[in-house]
Symmetry: C2
Subunit: 297 residues, 2 copies
């Protein structure tokens, strides 16, 4: 099994490429996912590329590389592709093309994204919801074509546990995959997050990781790993032994039973902004050490 | 006393200007603070201005206006002025000029910001920390000059409860104010957040709102109001009756004792992304109703 680490934990805290690469090398993890909280795709192209190259080179010197790039907290704060305003959605198309440019410059082959969020009225209006869905399918085709030209290998869409976002169920994930299959220039896949799928108040009977993987099997890309109590989208580290429901045994069992051991499991941890760097480091180290034992058995 | 509401609670959930203005008019609050999670300053200028005007106009039709603009979750995800890379700091200067442009287009007179966060090594290296501080003072002077040209009336800096950010204490807030006094073209003030100031594990003996206001008195701008347990920067709504330490009586007492009744108290509430629109609405409504009674006595 493949254990990876998303840079979410390090945003703001360890920004200097050399300092970050040194810290990351100490974790002994082989798969790395870059995060757009380090580089805003809107930043001017030349400095953005220099910065992206600096992260790639600093990691390279430590024998590490970025397989993937996932959007971060800043990106998730905006409505993105599901925005109410068409002009916003147009700007977001450009934003994602620029995100692919960042991915290329850090050396990542895969782009993972959440599609965004709808304004309340659009989400509850079946016609508006349908129109935004159909437009998003077209936008993803265009984005895949852009990615193909640049050398991207896949776009991976993350379902979230909210009615005002999509895909938010097995059915809506399958529909999106069917609508993009054979018509996108590079594969568009589903990026599962353990904590989103196990969120019982939102997912109900579908709060079952093995069910999601079995139903979406051929469309499964990589995954986000986090500790959670199944009540909220926690992105806890694995020191939550008592209230956490994601055990190494369950991870191993699900991946084995579904034959998805080749999907990279990127730990995506969130800490309070006001948490100390020391506590964040300890949380990441503990989680990685605990999981690595199981992954390398 | 002046009760206000920051649009933080509505980001993504209620984006359509008309829908948002209708919702907001129902709260019966007179002071409104726009939030950059609705408009990314990097978006193309023309569409960004049209969108900003649409929010201003929709609120105007309901008899509401934005006094102030504060940066939101997306902005706080980046290191901003305290970034390690000079090129990033240069881009961030542009970002804040564009934020002032957004403020002007929504009709806001005041810009509130947190300055950002340092990479671990810079924060713990006294020379680097000093250099970044001094550069930030120069950048704020330039930003104030830009604001003056555009018609902005003040820039208000929010202290946060973190050693890796500044200002993070009464002393560092006072130093920043002294260094900008009489040299900035528009007033630069301190924007206090009740929850940041009352964060005991970080503020220690300075976890005392009245102390902060007395020490910073002449530099005090507006404030952010939130419910908190004093352990983390919660930004809870006021349904947290049992564990919340910010009572209407305390708010009233502190503002009265310090003669700061004219500072607008903008409620800045944060909800989990996966929370339902219904629960968010109820939390805001409950908080506003509870506080309004006290504010209007």
């Amino acid at each position: 099994m493949k254990l990876g680490l998303n840079l979410s934990f390090a945003a703001k805290r360890w920004q200097d490429p050399e300092e970050l690469a040194e810290l990351c090398a100490g974790f002994g993890v082989h798969y790395w996912q870059f995060n757009l909280d380090f580089i805003d795709p809107w930043w001017p192209e030349e400095m953005r590329n220099r910065l992206a190259n600096a992260y790639r080179d600093a990691f390279g010197k430590k024998g590490l590389s970025f397989e993937s790039l996932f959007n971060g907290m800043a990106a998730y704060s905006y409505p993105q592709f599901l925005a109410h305003s068409r002009e916003v959605r147009d700007a977001i198309q450009t934003y994602h093309e620029r995100a692919i440019d960042v991915a290329m410059e850090v050396g990542a082959k895969h782009l993972g994204i959440a599609l965004g969020g709808m304004t309340h009225r659009d989400a509850y209006d079946p016609l508006r919801r349908r129109a935004i869905y159909e437009e998003t399918v077209e936008r993803l085709k265009k984005l895949a074509a852009y990615g193909a030209r640049k050398g991207l290998q896949s776009i991976q869409i993350e379902p979230t546990p909210l009615f005002t976002e999509f895909p938010n169920s097995i059915e809506s994930s399958l529909e999106l995959m069917h609508d993009l299959e054979n018509v996108s220039e590079i594969p568009v896949q589903i990026f599962l997050d353990w904590g989103h799928m196990l969120c019982k108040p939102f997912m109900g009977k579908q709060a079952d990781m093995e069910l999601w993987i079995r139903e979406l099997k051929s469309y499964i890309g990589d995954m986000h790993l986090q500790q959670t109590d199944g009540l909220w989208d926690r992105h806890w580290d694995f020191r939550h032994e008592e209230d956490g429901i994601v055990t190494p045994e369950i991870i191993k069992g699900v991946l084995h039973n579904t034959g998805t051991e080749d999907s990279v499991q990127y730990l995506e941890l969130s800490f309070a902004f006001e948490d100390t760097d020391e506590n964040v480091y300890e949380g990441v180290k503990y989680s990685v050490d605990k999981l690595r034992d199981i992954f390398e058995e």
